[in-house]
Structure formats: structure tokens, C-alpha cells
């Protein structure tokens, strides 16, 4: 299982993560990104891609 964490203090709601991988992230009512839970290891590449694309570098994948 992947651990995807969005640093809520850093996230500015650009939504690049959602645009990269719609099923891995969602913007909540405050416009902050919430990662999907229970994502399998086979999605590591997609999750890391989204983390690379975040303008605030707010996403960590482990």
C-alpha cells in the first residue's frame, strides 16, 4: 500500500495533482487536496508523477 500525504499548510489548491491523477486526489471544500486512501503499490509511478507536478511540492509518496 502507498502512503500519499499532502501537507495542508503548503497546498495552495492548484489542483495539478488532480489533473495528473484524477482518481488519486480530490480538492476538498477548502480547495485543499485530499489524497485517496488505500492506493496500491502499482500506482507508485502515477503518485510520484503527481508529486513532481505539484507547484508547491506539497505531496510526499512513500
Amino acid at each position: 500500500m502507498l502512503t500519499i500525504v499532502v501537507d495542508r499548510a503548503k497546498c495552495e489548491g492548484y489542483g495539478q495533482c488532480v489533473l495528473e491523477s484524477e482518481d488519486l486526489f480530490e480538492l476538498d471544500d477548502d480547495g485543499v487536496s485530499v489524497p485517496t486512501s488505500g492506493v496500491g503499490d502499482e500506482r507508485r509511478d502515477d503518485a510520484e508523477r503527481a508529486a513532481d507536478m505539484c507547484p508547491m511540492q506539497a505531496i510526499t509518496v512513500s
Binding site: Y14, G15, Q16, L19, M53
Partner: protein, 394 residues
């Protein structure tokens, strides 16, 4: 084995190094950059960091553990390259040998050669530039910005938030007009004007005036404007001089194929980021430089795969490069997001909302949707992005 040397210490350098490791290259890897910090994020330099103060450590990119063993040389300028001998020369005279080379030296701001005092003239590319500008910005300062592209407009918005008097001078007839088109750019100009920014469009600066320090600027129609600080944001010059003498086409950055390989028989060479003139099959076969933040990551990923394949003795993947160009800009509370290449459009139409509020604008060419721009509508752009990605490859 001398391994791979990555020239330039920015985002493109970092992503290429990470991709080389992810693609199985385990040999020696050296990154040589001429700034004094590890790769850091530039976009905040005209936005949040210019507003709140520049802390370069806070802007550094997190680095994947796969590049922990990379030799990072900072404060080192490459002055010369010999692709035949596979040797770089540094400003210290030191020679650095390589088996394969990554070109990631980016661009620098273009300077216009008008006469007059130079103290008080600034550009904005590096953290050091931003810190120098930040130290001058204050309430009631007379700030003149030359250039009305995204960078000039972002600086105008930030400087207004800090209480400066801001005038933007540009040869173009509307701000950000080349990528966005007439209607959206004039609507954005009105939003800037409502925030107190003055525009002198269709003009350029002939001279700066003052003693040592700039006090005013003279425009091409003879008008004189007070200027305590002048920021020049009039485009860029690729950092290619260190590559001269190797028979490469350096007319506008460094040309590559779709695998980011630079056409030369002398050595394995790839180019990435702002400096790379690369083709994108979504937008025809013409290679282009694209100065968007997403490009160093996308081209770096591909270039790392290409070099790792070449160094294993394989021929690199010939797959077309089809990464989606993505660009955003923050001005006041506005969030401008673009996908694709709106600047290539032959037909532009507002498809949702109001140009003076949240909206979505479509950019089409004869083959279909070529770009989309949303103002405060980022998450609604997903279907448009998909439509651009589905363009037939040409």
C-alpha cells in the same frame, strides 16, 4: 568510467538525474551549477516569495533518495565544452571529463541596451535577483516594469500588494497577448487597472535618467516617468555560449529530437527544460522551446530514460513526445491555468463564464483544440485537457 555530467543546477538538472537513476543508470553522476544553492523552485520568486521574503532553503525541491550519491557542484560555471574529447572546462580552469552530457543550463533574462544609469535596474530569474528586488519594494515606491508578459504582470500584482506605484511599459498592445489573444488579455488588463496598475502599451524605454541611480525613464515618445526601480521582464536568452565550437545548432536554445537527444555524432548528449528546443507530437513536428515549469520535469524524465538506454548500448525509444504543456500564473487572487499551446490558435472563443470573472477560453487550430485557459476554474479544465491530449499526432 567518467559517467554522466549534468550541466545546470535547476529543476531540469534534478529531474534528469532522478530519471537516470530510475532508469537504471548506476554510474557516476555529477551536477554542475553556477548558483550557490541546490535546485529550488522559481515560480514563487515573482509571487509569494517576493511578497513575503525570499528564503531559498524553503524553496529547495525535495530530492529523491536515489540521487543522494550524486556529486553536486554549486558555484561552478562551465565556460567551455569539447564534445570530441568529452571534456568540460570550469571558470576555475578545472577540467571535468564525461561519457555523456545533459544540457540543462536554462535561460537568462534578456537585457535591452538603453543608455543611462544602471543602479536600480533589475531582472528576476534567480533567488538572488528576487532578494535584491524585495529589498527595494515598499509603499509609495515608483516601480516601472518593462515587459507585459506573465512575469511582468505577476510582479505588477505583487508590487501593488506591497503598496508600490506600478507602471507597466511594453511594445505589445495588451498584456500577455501573445499566448492569450486580444479579448482575454484586454480583460486581464482591466483587472490590473482596477487594482491601480498603469499601462503604457505600444511603447518602449529609450533611456534611464539620474546620477548613478535611476530616477526616471524616458519612453520612445519622449514621455518621462518617475522610476525608483526598473524591472526588466522582456524575454530570455538561452545559456548556450559554453557549447559553442561543437557544430551544434544553437540558434534558439539547443535542438533535440523527441527523445531529447541532441543531434551530434561526437558524444551522447541530451537537453532538457527551458533551453531544449524539442518537438511535441501534439503540436506538429516543429521543435519549440517552452518556458513552463512542467517542461523540465517532462523532458528530464524522457532524457534520463534516453541516456540510460544509450549508456547500456541500446537504441533509445523512438516513441513520440506528447507531454501536455501546463502553465499557471497567480495575479492578485486570480489563478490563471493553461494547458496545451494557446499561442498556436487560429480561433479563440469564450466557452464558459465571463471574461471579467471566472471563465474558460478555448483555443483551436484546424486540427481541433490546441489549448485551453481557465481563470479560477482549474478543476473544470480536466475534460479540455483530455481533448487536447487526444489530438491526432502529426
Amino acid at each position: 568510467m567518467n559517467g554522466v555530467v549534468v550541466a545546470g543546477g535547476g529543476l531540469g538538472a534534478l529531474r534528469t538525474a532522478e530519471s537516470l537513476r530510475a532508469s537504471g543508470f548506476a554510474g557516476p553522476l555529477t551536477v554542475i551549477g553556477n548558483e550557490d544553492s541546490m535546485p529550488y523552485n522559481r515560480p514563487p520568486l515573482s509571487k509569494g516569495a517576493l511578497l513575503n521574503g525570499v528564503d531559498v532553503e524553503a524553496l529547495e525541491f525535495p530530492r529523491k533518495s536515489s540521487v543522494d550519491d550524486v556529486d553536486w557542484m554549486v558555484n561552478s560555471t562551465i565556460t567551455k565544452t569539447d564534445l570530441t574529447d568529452r571534456l568540460l572546462t570550469l571558470d576555475t580552469g578545472e577540467a571535468v571529463p564525461f561519457d555523456a552530457l545533459v544540457i540543462a543550463t536554462g535561460i537568462r533574462p534578456r537585457r535591452l541596451p538603453f543608455p543611462g544609469p544602471t543602479q536600480g535596474r533589475f531582472v528576476l530569474r534567480t533567488a538572488a535577483d528576487a532578494a535584491a528586488v524585495r529589498a527595494r519594494l515598499r509603499r509609495e515606491l515608483n516601480l516601472v516594469i518593462l515587459g507585459s508578459g506573465f512575469l511582468g504582470c505577476e510582479v505588477a500584482a505583487t508590487a501593488r500588494a506591497l503598496g508600490a506605484h506600478v507602471t507597466v511599459i511594453a511594445a505589445d498592445h495588451e498584456p500577455m497577448v501573445r499566448p492569450l489573444g486580444d479579448e482575454l488579455s484586454s480583460a486581464l488588463r482591466r483587472r490590473h487597472e482596477a487594482q491601480g496598475v498603469h499601462f503604457r502599451l505600444g511603447h518602449t524605454i529609450e533611456a534611464t535618467n539620474g546620477g548613478d541611480q535611476v530616477r526616471s525613464v524616458t519612453l520612445d515618445d519622449g514621455t518621462e516617468l518617475l522610476a525608483d526601480v526598473l524591472i526588466e521582464a522582456v524575454g530570455s536568452v538561452p545559456n548556450v555560449e559554453w557549447l559553442e565550437g561543437n557544430g551544434l545548432d544553437l540558434s534558439d536554445g539547443v535542438e533535440t529530437d523527441s527523445a531529447m537527444r541532441v543531434p551530434t555524432e561526437l558524444a551522447p548528449v541530451v537537453a532538457v527544460g527551458d533551453i531544449a528546443r524539442h518537438p511535441n507530437a501534439l503540436f506538429g513536428s516543429a521543435p519549440r522551446r517552452v518556458e513552463h515549469w512542467s517542461i523540465p520535469t517532462e523532458t528530464g524524465r524522457r532524457a534520463g530514460q534516453t541516456l540510460a538506454q544509450i549508456l547500456r548500448g541500446e537504441s533509445p525509444s523512438e516513441a513520440p513526445f506528447t507531454a501536455m504543456p501546463s502553465f499557471w500564473s497567480d495575479q492578485y487572487a486570480l489563478r490563471i491555468q493553461s494547458f496545451g499551446m494557446p499561442g498556436l490558435a487560429t480561433d479563440i472563443s469564450l466557452v464558459d463564464g465571463d471574461l471579467n470573472g471566472p471563465c474558460i477560453v478555448e483555443y483551436r487550430d484546424p486540427l481541433g483544440l490546441v489549448g485551453v485557459v481557465g481563470i479560477d476554474r482549474t478543476s473544470d479544465l480536466i475534460p479540455y485537457r483530455k481533448e487536447i491530449a487526444a489530438r491526432s499526432h502529426c
